[in-house]
Assembly symmetry: C2
Homo-oligomer: 238 residues x 2
DNA sequence: CGGAGGGTTGACCTTCCTCAATTATTGTGG
DNA sequence: CCACAATAATTGAGGAAGGTCAACCCTCCG
């Protein structure tokens, strides 16, 4: 390591407004730097952790996109989420000291490894970190409520519209376009997440194109009529 | 309050093996008693908290059963869970200081009110409490993964079989029968939770009865062939 | 250039939903 | 305590949404 090596640190990370350090004072920021023990690169299709593996750390995504999935013995699986830069994964492992889902990189990615006992140690001292950890877990619970609403009651068009709006909103929060996005996942993975078959995802996207709501070129999607998507998710309140 | 009044306390609560005090030393138990500020009775159909309300406390269920539900503007709603004695509700409120779901009592119930800032305060001092709070939240995340699997990929019979097995297993952990249960919720509420219409719930229960897997007398269910239910949830692994 | 993985589209079928009628149960006021 | 209303549950018939199976195309790579 040369003296010029940029220190692995939250304090100079451009994701600090989205990630672990949210709401911390500068003095506290220095201390949270200690949490990030190492970084780890994960290549496309590789897993960051998998079900059954011992839980040691939470991971903050620095670059790239992941999917998390749970599986049953009989081979079915369900994508439980797609995570991008600044988001925290691994929370499932806390309860039984073992992960209960897989995290798979959808593109070459990098994460910050945050040993959980260090997080607990530090959050005993830094109140705002403690609060933030609680908020991250609560946010995940609330997000999953939203997915349950989607899976439990919405029709295919509604699910897909909600999915696209959610993705583009999160990308926009990261400085990307409000109307264009590149899907990092296959139609099958989208379908698994939304409780649909890949053919239905494909057909529904085609229908949106026909209706002039979006433009699709393979993985590239342009949202032409965001209002129409919103309208599909929230039918007219007459 | 007469001297004979039983103190509101975890240390003499018969749910302490299931609830907040799990894994605490006797000396720590005394301190956690301070968390439980008050108890609160909630009558059937009344809400413990509702969406939009300011978040102040977590609630440990002492007696009774609750449902939690999220709602959309256009009137649809989704039951996100059924909670019983020893379980903690209110975690959804942490992230934005406001609740995002309703908690409704399905029968006359009583909860222990645990102000969240007291929990945070104490869990800075008591490591095992800190860990336990994290586990409770992680458990909820993992539970919701299971619901997503159910909603995303299973058919009606599988959903209902999984539901019955889950209920009876939790009741058994509380000292009730391994094979008999009383449904505290309507067919419609079950349907909402499972992403099915009430007619489908009713029909599927009837089919289980015809197949000799269960016996149903209105809200009372007797599981005659638990193996068959398991087999429905996990199709033969050939 | 050729193969594998990913995506689209069509035809048909299954599952579950919708609508409706009927019965059972629970709750309430006289 | 009974009668009646309101709520909950069952069951049937018909229909719609999405699944299944299959053929075909595209595109990205080695």
């Amino acid at each position: 390591m040369t003296p010029q090596t940029i220190k692995v640190a939250c304090s100079n990370c451009n994701l600090r407004e989205l990630c672990m350090p949210v709401g911390l004072l500068p003095s506290e920021l220095d201390r949270i730097d200690d949490i990030v023990a190492t970084r780890r690169k994960v290549k496309r299709r590789e897993t960051l952790f998998h079900s059954g593996e011992r839980f040691t750390s939470l991971y903050a995504i620095r670059t790239g996109v992941f999917k998390t999935r749970v599986a049953t013995e009989d081979g079915r699986d369900q994508v439980t989420g797609f995570q991008m830069a600044g988001e925290i994964i691994g929370l499932d492992g806390i309860v039984n000291d073992h992960h209960t889902c897989d995290a798979v990189a959808l593109e070459d990615s990098e994460v910050c490894v945050m040993p959980f006992d260090r997080i607990e140690e530090l959050s005993r001292e830094i109140t705002s970190l403690q609060r933030h950890v609680h908020q991250i877990m609560s946010r995940e619970i609330v997000r999953e409520h939203g997915v349950m609403l989607l899976l439990g009651g919405m029709r295919a068009e509604e699910r897909l519209a909600a999915f696209l709006l959610n993705l583009v909103q999160r990308l926009h929060a990261r400085g990307f376009s409000r109307s264009e996005l590149v899907l990092r996942m296959t139609r099958e993975e989208i379908g698994s997440y939304l409780g649909l078959k890949l053919e239905t995802v494909s057909r529904t996207l085609s229908k949106f194109v026909t209706d002039g709501i979006i433009e699709v070129d393979n993985r590239h999607v342009r949202i032409v009529e965001p209002g129409a998507l919103h309208h599909i998710v929230t039918p007219a309140v007459c």
